[in-house]
């Protein structure tokens, strides 16, 4: 029997505020343990949380960008459970009255575009970090620097039909968050975390199967493998006549399997109730419209515009719009060079290759778009050849010098001057009477030999088009 998966994703994104959601502690990553804490985020008795306005603004920004309805009134709730990463014994979250509802994210599949619906986006506080000590100690160490960092949870509808769609959805969502400037999208540092609800059903069946919650899919690489494994596991259970049990499972990248999380069943009884320490969150239409007016162009819109405006292939536009900064770089280079296709080739080729090689971001690219356009201008003017330009690019990267300066200093200017090239051709012909005779006897392939000899004599600086033309004339004996 054929089975088809049904997948919904829950993504937690850390918001890029300076301070925590309910207190003034810094959100800075990497500070010494427990140095970003105060009575509020330590859960001391008698303290009161006060909501960070920026966190609300960012959540609304995301909601508007993905077409959610922003609720005029929403409510914080306490999610109660006992775990050492949670000093208060509850997490302040939202429950039955979230800030944003509905909306959707359009993704590009192999066939066409598909909209993945969203259920809701809500605000909540992050928990602390636990370090489980190995060995005889048998202790768990708690760092509460992260406790109280603002998060949004973005919950999708079960509209995702394959692991690769899940990957595409997550990539697009991350891209949107980066464009909005509300999250740094760093999965390694935990700024973006993903859980999945997965079930399978016989192909064509309308009814959903029993869903399993997959926790901590914290890398783009793992998410696809984890889902593939889990879908196969469930299909095998059903094929063997068994039943899928509703449970939480954890993906282990080392063994490439998912394992049951034990002892958590009872903890699902979260006994939510309205957070009495925080007033209902009231958002007026004026504020929403102000935020809407400040929304940037989003990845998919920009991709379509690049294709229409610059005539570059959809694939190029896809890669170039991965981040706002890369797209900015490309557009600047396209405009400065007046050659959008050439600029796309350079950015997609040499620029991205070097960035990858040095694990650098485009914002740290030592060759500015203007300088890249300058290099492209030299090729167009016939000053240097395309292959020499790649060498010049390497040097621009290393020295931060402009292309014309490098070309001048190294004497790389292409030789297009006909009398100069004719003199060299005469020398080469005089030095190779044998091949010359062969050519004149009708062996036209010898032309390649002469091309090579002349290029060598010019140390690669001869203009190939001019040489070819001159050689054609001279070899014939005219």
């Amino acid at each position: 029997m054929e089975f088809e998966p049904v997948i919904g994703l829950e993504v937690h994104a850390q918001l890029l505020t300076q301070s925590k959601i309910f207190c003034g502690c810094t959100t800075r990553f990497g500070n010494p343990p427990n140095t970003n804490t105060c009575p509020v985020c330590l859960g001391m008795p008698g303290v009161l949380p006060v909501l960070n306005r920026k966190a609300v603004e960012y959540a609304i920004k995301v909601g508007l960008a993905v077409g959610c309805e922003i609720r005029g009134r929403s409510l914080f709730a306490r999610k109660n459970y006992f775990y050492p990463d949670l000093p208060k014994g509850y997490q302040i979250s939202m429950y039955d009255q979230p800030l944003c509802v509905g909306g959707g994210i359009t993704i590009e599949t192999r066939k066409d575009r598909k909209r993945i619906g969203l259920t809701r986006i809500h605000l909540e506080e992050d928990a602390g970090k636990l370090i489980h000590q190995e060995g005889a100690d048998d202790r768990t160490l708690v760092d509460l620097n992260r406790a109280g960092v603002p998060l949004i949870e973005i919950v999708s509808e079960p509209d995702i039909a394959s692991p690769s769609e899940a990957h595409t959805y997550l990539t697009m969502l991350r891209s949107i968050l980066l464009y909005l400037g509300v999250c740094d999208g760093n999965m390694e540092e935990g700024s973006l975390r993903c859980d999945a609800n997965v079930s399978v059903r016989p192909a064509g069946e309308k009814q959903f199967g029993t869903k399993v919650e997959l926790k901590n899919l914290n890398s783009f690489r793992f998410i696809q493998k984890a889902l593939e494994y889990e879908i196969n596991r469930q299909a095998e259970v059903l094929q063997g006549g068994g039943k899928v049990v509703q449970e939480s499972r954890l993906y282990d990248p080392d063994s490439d399997t998912t394992d049951l999380m034990r002892g958590k069943e009872e903890a699902h009884d979260y006994r939510y109730f309205p957070e009495p320490d925080l007033l209902p969150l009231i958002v007026d239409q004026k504020w929403i419209e102000e935020i809407r007016a400040g929304l940037p162009e989003l990845p998919l819109e920009r991709r379509d515009r690049l294709v229409a405006q610059y005539g570059i292939p959809a694939y190029d536009a896809d890669v170039l719009t991965t981040t706002r900064e890369l797209a900015d770089y490309y557009e600047a280079a396209a405009k400065a060079s007046g050659n959008p296709k050439g600029a796309s080739n350079w950015v997609m080729g040499e620029v991205l290759r070097k960035l990858k090689e040095e694990k650098a971001e485009i914002t740290a690219c030592p060759v500015s778009p203007d300088r890249l356009a300058g290099l492209m201008g030299l090729i167009e003017a016939g000053t240097i050849s395309g292959s020499l330009a790649k060498e010049v690019f390497e040097e621009m990267w290393a020295t931060r010098h402009a292309a014309p300066d490098i070309v001048k200093a190294r004497g790389l200017t292409q030789i297009s001057d006909e009398p100069e090239l004719l003199a060299i051709i005469d020398q080469v012909m005089a030095a190779n009477p044998g091949p010359l005779a062969q050519y004149r006897a009708g062996k036209s392939a010898t032309l390649g030999f002469f091309m090579g000899q002349v290029m060598k004599a010019t140390q690669g600086k001869g203009n190939p088009t001019v040489i070819q033309k001159l050689l054609g004339e001279k070899l014939k004996g005219s």
Binding site: S19, L75, D137, R139, T140, E266, L279, L281
Partner: protein, 95 residues
């Protein structure tokens, strides 16, 4: 009694508390009397009344996104029975 002993045991477990059978019995009776009292309120017709989660009618109270000084780490850890390398140290829990 409307509350089951099993429910009391479940709530105690969720709160990480352990009680003797005798204590569970006492709590069940006490919780039950509270519930009976609350049930009295259910006699009122509240169909046309908005649920009240907050009693203040104040406007929104926001803070601006500004960093304020945190506690010194020694003060932050001062109430912890055990610490290690700037961390709270607790009996091992399984992730």
């Amino acid at each position: 009694m409307s509350i089951q002993l099993e429910t009391v045991r479940h709530i105690a477990r969720l709160a990480n508390l352990e009680f003797s059978e005798e204590e569970l019995g006492i709590f069940a009776r006490q919780i039950d009397s509270i519930l009976v009292y609350i049930d009295k309120l259910n006699e009122l017709d509240t169909q046309r009344v908005e649920p009240t989660s907050h009693v203040t009618q104040k406007d929104q109270a926001f803070r601006e996104d500004r960093v304020a000084p945190s506690l010194e780490v020694l003060r932050a850890l001062a109430n912890s029975p055990e610490t290690k390398d700037g961390h709270f140290s607790v009996p091992k829990v399984i992730g």
